[in-house]
């Protein structure tokens, strides 16, 4: 039985929901195909997995049961929300477990093999959430109400659909990259010795918001260029003015059409020391060499081995640092702390969009430099979605 709007439901929160019905059908079809291949009766996007929920419904908050056999999914939403993709979702208030369980039962999943998206970190989505993103209380109740069904992880069933972008998504990733780049331009324009770092943070955020980005935290690392443990901020710094010789490394994130992209370019309020120039030059070379290697069919393992070994010839170190663009926590995730073993054998595909920002370091790792932004994989290779001159920006 459909759940209808409970009394006193909260105000509808309007969010961007501009993808076409054709895009919806593409996503649902591809997820159904992956689910069928994996032998699932349906895919459950439960409470807690908000990112996959938004990808599948364009709703701000939703849960979903998508049967693999092509039947219409049941979507659960709150605050009277609906949209062109999901004109009549079941409505709930704060209770999610009961409608999720009823949706499974209504669709005949009493004894099914149910694929749960977000139960663990995936190869290409929910990459930083090793233990997944699912709400315990709600899933526990659902499993209790459907005791003869089998619940298994299906993060990659949706993940591998999110992995390759459609033309609609690529167009918005391009817009997103431009907004992020404009944010970086604002940072470069305003960063001067004596400037209040908190006000600078606010100005850069505001520049991206006025260009239509959804909010996503801006990350600034600000400290003297020779600081051993530079301080990282994801909120406006307090008690801090920029000082001469400050190095500002950054991750400038923008979101358009739910597509999260990022650009980064270090800024130095002073002259670039000689010792840094060789590292910057090495980074430019691995950036370019990697870009040339990124093609459909190449595995991430091969790319990582190439990049990670690149610096040794120059008695320096290099590390592949990259992650996917998209709805959030996209992969594969490679970096100094994340080896992305699960994605080593995964081939690069046409339509992938990554933030490509390999890391170059001096042999003692005291000098570290990363520069980059979003790149699109086409059938011919990689195309940068941002246009910037490589290097460290020096503001004397």
């Amino acid at each position: 039985m459909p759940w209808t709007t409970p009394p006193g439901a909260g105000a509808t929160v309007h969010i961007w929901n501009g993808y076409s019905l054709a895009e919806r059908d593409r996503r649902w079809r591809a997820v159904r195909e992956n689910a069928a291949k994996a032998g699932f009766g349906c895919i459950l996007v439960p409470l807690g997995n908000g990112i996959d929920g938004r990808y599948m419904t364009q709703l701000r908050c939703s849960a979903m049961v998508l049967p693999a056999d092509g039947r219409t999914p049941i979507v659960i939403a709150d605050r009277r929300s609906s949209n062109a993709w999901v004109p009549e979702p079941w409505q709930t208030g704060r209770e999610w477990a009961e409608p999720m369980a009823e949706a499974l039962l209504d669709l005949g999943m009493e004894r099914a093999r149910i694929g749960v998206a977000g139960l663990s970190g995936g190869a290409v989505t929910h990459c930083s959430a090793i233990d997944g993103v699912v709400n315990h209380g709600a899933l526990q109740r659902v499993m209790g109400r459907v005791p003869n069904a089998c619940f298994e992880d299906a993060t990659d069933v949706i993940g591998l659909v999110r992995y390759a972008k459609s033309d609609e998504e690529i167009a918005l990733a391009r817009e997103s990259a431009q907004v992020a780049s404009a944010g970086l331009d604002e940072l470069i324009k305003r960063a001067r010795p004596g400037v209040d770092a908190g006000v600078l943070y606010a100005d850069v955020l505001a520049r991206m918001l006025e260009l239509g980005s959804e909010y996503f935290p801006l990350t600034l690392t600000i400290d003297s260029i020779d600081a051993a443990k530079p301080k990282r901020y994801t909120n406006p710094p307090l008690g801090r003015r920029l000082e001469p010789n400050a190095l500002i490394t950054n991750e400038i994130n923008a979101v358009r059409g739910a597509q999260l992209t990022q650009v980064c370019q270090p800024i130095l309020l002073g002259q670039i020391p000689e010792g840094w120039k060789t590292v910057v030059a090495l980074q430019r070379d691995i950036y370019e060499a990697g870009l040339a290697m990124i093609k459909p069919g190449v595995t991430f393992g091969a790319l990582a081995d190439y990049i990670d070994g690149f610096g040794a010839n120059r008695a320096m170190k290099t590390i592949m640092q990259m992650h996917g663009c998209g709805y959030g926590d996209d992969g594969p995730l490679f970096g100094a702390r994340a080896g992305a073993g699960r994605a080593r054998d995964l081939p690069i595909k046409k339509g992938n969009v990554f933030v490509w920002r390999p890391l170059a370091m001096s042999d003692d790792q005291m000098v570290q430099f990363s520069w980059g932004g979003p790149v699109l994989v086409t059938e011919h290779g990689a195309e940068a979605l941002f246009k910037r001159e490589h290097g460290m920006v020096a503001i004397a």
Binding site: V133, H136, A206, Y215, N235, L238, G239
Partner: protein, 404 residues
């Protein structure tokens, strides 16, 4: 107001840390728990049922550690807590943190075993909704896979709900917390001033939203999305936006409602100010006056030691004497999803016996409806409970701002 560079605040003191931990330990001892366990909680970007809930998911962790993401085992007997985190560094409160290794489930289970909790009675915070915290989270805020793994690895321990153990410790604010909330309320009020300065017919709503947010962040607030409503009166419920809206322009005769939040020291302050782009219609004025009087009467009745029942009845019945209707809308302020929660939806019935206590901070924003029910209004802000009643954390005057 101070700009960020001139703000001398480097986090809460070690005295504050010890005060929080001691309160939690005392509550745990009273409840008979061997330790209080804050497991890995779902992240707010994924569990985004509301702004409050998004911020509330990992709020117990921030309260106990000042870290954004960690699992905590706080033994009741006074031993040092074990903190597992995926963050690179600890902080002044916790210079040593245990890195999450392989999986959260495995790391948390190992930490519980190392703390000697194999056969213990373990109080789990956030496993379901509470009175003082996580009040909106009917299913709690705990991550499934890691918690299931902990249960699997400690089959002889007992795991029980302990949301109130931390919740009540969070309910009453220290002097340090009150100072942060006071600054946050002042920043939110400055955001409202910016909105009043800029909101005019013809103004792009996305630009207005951006400038208000910019003004608050440039005064040192963390970014906390403003809830912004706008539209003509009489067309049903106003649409709500939590990001800058695209393609919308303010028009003459628009109503603007808002929840303007500022976060300082991790604590969320909120101020609220209805605005009308035009001369306020006479038909609305009785309800606006009612709302003001109700707010002031409410302050007088926020007396420590009294149960909320009396306060609820006062506000919910306030309009009736004047032939109008009134409803209580208020909740706690703090790290996110603070309670108790009173809304027109839930009526707050489950909170009737909860006591108002000294040094609680609430957002108080009761709703007044016109006699014919065609108009309603809510104005409010942060209120501190003192021995003498409620004290607004920032001085503002209830009412609707008219911009002509």
């Amino acid at each position: 107001m101070d700009l960020p560079a001139d703000i001398d605040w480097n986090g809460y003191s070690l005295v504050e840390r010890d005060w929080r931990w001691r309160r939690v330990r005392d509550n745990a001892a009273k409840a008979g728990f061997d330790c209080t366990f804050v497991p890995l909680c779902v992240d707010g970007r994924n569990l985004h049922l509301s702004l409050e809930q998004a911020r509330g998911t990992r709020s117990d962790c921030r309260f106990l550690t000042q870290l954004d993401n960690a699992a905590i085992i706080l033994p009741t007997d006074g031993r040092a807590p074990i903190v597992v985190s995926d963050q690179d560094f600890g902080n002044d409160w916790l210079p040593e943190i245990r890195p999450m290794d392989n999986s959260w489930g495995e790391s948390m289970a190992r930490a519980l075993i190392d703390a000697g909790m194999q056969r213990a009675r373990i109080g789990v915070s956030g496993i379901r909704r509470g009175f003082y915290t996580h009040g909106r989270a009917f299913h709690g805020v705990v991550n499934h896979s890691s918690y299931a793994e902990v249960l699997r690895r400690l089959p002889n321990a007992t795991f029980e709900n302990a949301t109130e153990v931390i919740g009540h410790a969070r309910y009453i604010k220290s002097a340090e917390q009150i100072a942060c909330l006071r600054r946050g309320a002042a920043i939110a009020a400055a955001g409202i001033d910016k909105m009043i300065e800029l909101a005019r017919p013809g103004m792009d709503e996305g630009q207005l939203y951006t400038r208000v947010m910019q003004s608050m962040v440039s005064l040192g607030s963390e970014y906390y999305p403003m809830a912004f409503y706008s539209g003509l009166h009489g067309g049903g419920r106003l649409p709500r936006f939590e990001d800058p809206a695209e393609g919308r322009t303010l028009q003459s005769g628009y109503r603007i409602a808002n929840e303007v939040d500022a976060v300082f020291g991790g604590l969320i302050a909120q101020e609220q100010q209805p605005i009308y782009l035009g001369a306020i219609p006479d038909a609305w004025k009785p309800a606006i006056d009612l709302q003001r009087e109700m707010y002031y009467a409410g302050l007088e009745h926020l007396i420590p030691g009294r149960p909320f029942a009396e306060f609820m009845d006062l506000i919910n019945g306030f309009g009736e004497k004047r032939g109008m209707k009134s409803q209580l809308l208020m909740h706690g302020r703090g790290y996110g999803d603070d309670g108790p929660l009173f809304t027109p939806q839930n009526r707050g019935g489950r909170n009737r016996d909860v006591l108002i206590e000294k040094d609680c901070v609430f957002i108080v924003k009761p709703i007044a409806h016109s006699a014919d029910g065609s108009f309603d209004t809510s104005w409010g802000g942060c209120v501190l409970v003192t021995d003498k009643g409620g004290e607004p954390l920032v001085k503002r005057t209830p009412g609707m701002v008219s911009i002509t």
